[in-house]
Amino acid sequence: MIKVESAETQLQKLFQLTSSQVQRVIDTATGGEQGKSKGVFCDLYFQAGTAQGLTFDQGVLKNTSSSTTCGAGVRVVVGDKTGYSHTGHVNITNLLQCAKVARAITDHAGASANVAVGLPEGVSGPHDLYGILNCPVDIALQEKIDLLRNIDKEVRLYDPRIQNVTVSVACESYTIIIVNSLDQIFVDLRPLVRISVSCLAEDGGRKETGSSGGGGRFEFSVLAEEDKWKEHAHIAAKMAIDLLSAAPAPAGVMDVVLGSGWPGVLIHEAVGHGLEGDFNRMGTSAFSSLMGEAVASPLVTVIDDGTMEDRRGSLNFDDEGTPTSRTVLIENGKLKGYLQDKKNAGLMKTALTGNGRRQDYRYAPIPRMTNTYMDGGQSTPEEIIASVKYGLYAANFGGGQVDITNGNFTFSAIGAYLIEDGKITKTVKGATLIGNGPKALHNVTMVGNDVSLDRGVGTCGKAGQGVPVGVGMPTIRINGVTVGGAK
C-alpha cells in the first residue's frame, strides 16, 4: 500500500505550512476562544494532487492532459450561516486573508446552533476502503495508450457497421487534509480511475450511438484487466448496433421493467436528492413532512452507503472529516433517514451520516449522496419480465434530473425493449421517463433478487458542484409510468 503520511508532515511537504500557522488561520477565522464559545466553527480543507486524462478518437491519440491542484478553502459556520473563501495559491498570507473574508459572516450571526459532532451510528472511525500500491496518475502513459488502442480495436471488431470509436481514460489522485476548530485533523489519499467508451454505428444512412464505462477508487491495473475492458467494448458496440433497428418509442402510460445496476439513477433522482438534509431543514423538499410515513411500496428499501470498498462514491471520511456510513433512507416503504452534513445535522439535531461533500477546495460542503441503491427482493428478473402483458424493459439509461420541491423527476432511457405477453419482442428508441418522487415508488410491484451497483461512471450535480457517486438497483417492475416517446 502507498503509506499515507501524517497530516502534519503533508501540510509541511505539500503546502509548506506548520501546525502553528494553521492554528493561526483557524483562530483568525473563529475569533479565538471567544468566538468558539459563541458557537463559531471553522474548518480548513486542503487539496493537492493531479487529474490526468487521455482520449483516443478515430484511431489516434487526440488528447493528453493533466491538471494540477494545490489549494485550500476556509469555512466559517455559525448557526445556519456560512462564510467561505478559497485560494489556489496557498501560503500563510493568503490563508489569513481567506480567514478574514470567511469570518465576515460572524457579523451577521443570528440564532446559534452548534455544528453536529461525533460519529455516525454504528461507525467507530475513518475507514480504509481504497488503499493502493501504485498511484494511477504515475502509471506510464504508454500503458494507458495501449489500453485505449485495444478497446478501440475490440469495438471495431464487433461489427463492420461501427464507424467511430472514442475511448478515454481518466485517472486522479488527491491528498485531502482537513483541520477544524474542534482540534481535529484528518488526512486521506483518494484515488479515482475511469474508462469511457462510445461508438457510432451506421447502416444505410441511419446512425446510432452506444456507450459504456466504469471505474472506481482502485488501481489502474484493474481497468486494464482484459475481461473488464472487453465487456465495456462489447456493451457499447452492442447498444449502437441494436439501436440501428429500433422502432420509435411509444408515448403514454405503461408498466415498465427497469434492469439492475445503472437504472438505479431512478432512486438517486426520485428519492436521494429529496432526502438531503439541507432541503429538509429548510422545508423545501417534497419529502420534508413525510418522515416515518409510507413513501413507497413495502417492497422498497433504499440505502446510501459510502463504506463500500473500491466504489466510485465511497470515501474513508466525507469532506468535513466525518467517517461515511450506511444510512437506511427508506425501510420497507417507510421514510427513515436523511443525508446530513455538520451544519444541517446540527440545526436539525440529528446524527451525522458522513454525507458532507464538496467538488473541490473551491466549494463549501453540502449534503450529498455517496452510493445510493434500492435493496434486493425475492423475484427473479425472468419472472418480472414474464409478468408484464404490455410494457417497456429499459436497461440502459443516461442521466436524470429532479425538482426537489414538487418531487417531479425525469430519467432518460437510451434504447429499450418492448415486452408483449411476457416476452421481449423488439428494440425501441430511447425516451424520457417521468414520475413524482413520493408517489412513483408506491407503484413498485416486484423487486428482483439481482441487486447490483453501476460500473462506476456516475457524477452528480448540485448547486454547481459535481461529485462522483454510485447508483444501484435490482430489476424492478413499476406500474403506470409515463413514457415520453414520439409516437
Binding site: 456560512t82 467511430n164 472514442t166 423545501t284 442521466g399 420541491t405 423527476f409 424520457t432 415520453g484
Partner: protein, 442 residues
C-alpha cells in the same frame, strides 16, 4: 486595476511561450485567467452565506511535431512554471502523433483585438452591505407578493470580474477584462399539500442593466404561483410554444449539432446539411460575439481566431458549421471559430401573447428536465412543465408530462418567432412556436 493585473498576466504568458520554445516545444499556447468573485446569499430575511475568493489558473498546451499534451495549474511561481513546461513537453513526447494537431495557421489568427466594453467599474464599488440589501429586497418582494408564498430557497447578489490572456508561439498575444453581476431569488408557493418552487435571475455585464431586486423577486413569486394546481394532461399531439428561456435552450442544442467535432465524426443530425433546408424558411440564426457590452461578447476566441458576426441559418438553410482549427483540418477547409457568442434567432413581429393566441389547444413550455436529446439522430424527449393553452389563452398549469419529437422536424415546423428578444445571456431567443409535438401524460 485591470490594466496592472493584465500586464502582469501578459508577462507571465510571454515567459511561458518563450520558455516552452526553449525547452523543446515546436509550437505552444497558454491561456491565463484570474478573477475576483463575491457571492452574497440571504434566506428568510437574514444573511445566510458570504463567499469571496480570488482565483487564477493557467492552461498550457505544447506540441512536439504532431504530438501534443496540455496541463493546467494555479501555481504561478517561476520555478513551478518551468517544471510544468518540462512535464508537458515530456508528456507530449510520450504521446502519439495526430496528423491534424497543431495551432491554427498564423494567417487565421486575429490581428486586431477590439475593445468591446466588457467591463463595468461600478460593480467593484458596491459595498457588501448594499449587495446584502439588494438580495434582501429581492426576497422580500417575492415573499410579500402573495400569502401563498410560504417559504424561500433564498436570494443572492453575485458579482464577478476577470482578466484573461491568451498567447501562442505564432506571436499572438491577446487579453481582455470582463465583469458580470446578477440578482436571483427562488421562493416556494404552497397550497394544500402541494409545493412549487419558482425562481428568477437577472444577470448583466453592467450594474445599471440589472432588473431591480423587486422586479426579480416578483417574477420569481409569479413563476411559483402560476404552477400551483399543476396536473397531467392526456397524451396528444399539439402545438408547443417555447418561452424565451426554453427556446434559447433549444437553440443551443440545435446549433451545438453544427460543431466541427460532430461533423468530422458524422455524429450529428446536421452533418452534411450545409446548403440544405434544416428549418422553416422564416428562420434566421445569427451568431454575433462582437456586440458591444453584451454578455456573450469576446474579442477573439479560445484559439486566438477572430470573432466575427456570422449567419448560421438563413431562410431556413444551414450556412456553415462551427469549425476550430482542428476540425477545419479534419474537413480540409478553413476555420471560422468553433464557439458562439450572443447566438440568437432573428426576432419576428408577434408578441408572446399574440403567439399564444394562435393556439387553440397546446402547451406553453416554461421548464424542461433530463438530458433527453440525442445529437446523432436529433431525437428529442424531455420532461416538461408549463401552462396549458386553451382557446388562445393560458388556462392551467401542467407537470409530469414529456414532450418529444425530432429536432429537424421541430425546426422545420417552427410556425412563429416572437418579437421579445432580450440579450440576457450568451444564447438567447424570443418566444417560439412549434406546430406539433408529441406530449405524453396520462
Amino acid at each position: 486595476m485591470a490594466a496592472s493585473k493584465d500586464s502582469n498576466l501578459i508577462a507571465i504568458a510571454e515567459f511561458i511561450i518563450k520558455e516552452g520554445r526553449r525547452l523543446g516545444a515546436t509550437e505552444c499556447d497558454v491561456k491565463i485567467a484570474s478573477s475576483d468573485a463575491v457571492d452574497t446569499g440571504v434566506r428568510l430575511g437574514e444573511v445566510e452565506t458570504l463567499e469571496g475568493a480570488q482565483s487564477r489558473g493557467l492552461h498550457f498546451e505544447a506540441y512536439v511535431g504532431k504530438k501534443s499534451a496540455s496541463t493546467s495549474t494555479s501555481d504561478f511561481r517561476r520555478a513551478a512554471l518551468t517544471d510544468l513546461i518540462r512535464t508537458t513537453i515530456a508528456m507530449a513526447n510520450a504521446s502519439e502523433e495526430d496528423p491534424f494537431s497543431g495551432l491554427p495557421e498564423a494567417q487565421y489568427l486575429a490581428t486586431e483585438i477590439p475593445d468591446l466594453m466588457l467591463t463595468d467599474g461600478a460593480i467593484a464599488k458596491i459595498a457588501t452591505e448594499d449587495k446584502i440589501q439588494m438580495a434582501l429586497a429581492a426576497e422580500a418582494a417575492a415573499r410579500g407578493y402573495d400569502n401563498k408564498i410560504t417559504n424561500s430557497r433564498g436570494a443572492s447578489f453575485t458579482d464577478w470580474s476577470g482578466n484573461t490572456v491568451f498567447a501562442n508561439s505564432h506571436g499572438f498575444v491577446g487579453s481582455y477584462s470582463s465583469t458580470h453581476c446578477s440578482i436571483s431569488a427562488a421562493v416556494v408557493a404552497s397550497q394544500d399539500n402541494e409545493m412549487q418552487v419558482g425562481g428568477w435571475s437577472s444577470g448583466a455585464l453592467s450594474f445599471n442593466k440589472l432588473e431591480s431586486p423587486e422586479q426579480v423577486g416578483i417574477t420569481a413569486a409569479k413563476r411559483a404561483l402560476r404552477m400551483l394546481g399543476a396536473r397531467k394532461v392526456k397524451s396528444q399531439m399539439v402545438p408547443v410554444v417555447f418561452d424565451p428561456l426554453m427556446a434559447a435552450t433549444l437553440l443551443a442544442q440545435f446549433v451545438g449539432a453544427t460543431a466541427g467535432s460532430h461533423v468530422y465524426r458524422n455524429s450529428s443530425f446536421l452533418a452534411g446539411k450545409v446548403d440544405q433546408v434544416v428549418a422553416n424558411p422564416a428562420v434566421k440564426i445569427i451568431d454575433d460575439p462582437l456586440m458591444m457590452a453584451a454578455l456573450g461578447s469576446r474579442p477573439y476566441d479560445g484559439e486566438g481566431l477572430p470573432s466575427r458576426r456570422r449567419i448560421i441559418v438563413q431562410n431556413g438553410v444551414l450556412q456553415c458549421y462551427l469549425l476550430g482549427s482542428y476540425s477545419a483540418r479534419k474537413l480540409n477547409t478553413i476555420p471560422n471559430g468553433g464557439s458562439t457568442g450572443n447566438l440568437h434567432f432573428e426576432p419576428g413581429l408577434l408578441s408572446a401573447e399574440e403567439i399564444i393566441a394562435t393556439v387553440e389547444n397546446g402547451l406553453y413550455l416554461t421548464s424542461v428536465s433530463g438530458p433527453g436529446f440525442n445529437v446523432v439522430t436529433g431525437d428529442y424527449s424531455r420532461g416538461a412543465s408549463g401552462l396549458w393553452i386553451e382557446n388562445g389563452e393560458l388556462a392551467y398549469p401542467v407537470e409530469g408530462i414529456t414532450i418529444a419529437g425530432n429536432m429537424l422536424d421541430m425546426f422545420n415546423n417552427i410556425e412563429q418567432i416572437g418579437n421579445d428578444l432580450i440579450f440576457r445571456s450568451s444564447t438567447v431567443s424570443p418566444t417560439l412556436k412549434i406546430g406539433a409535438m408529441m406530449v405524453a401524460g396520462e
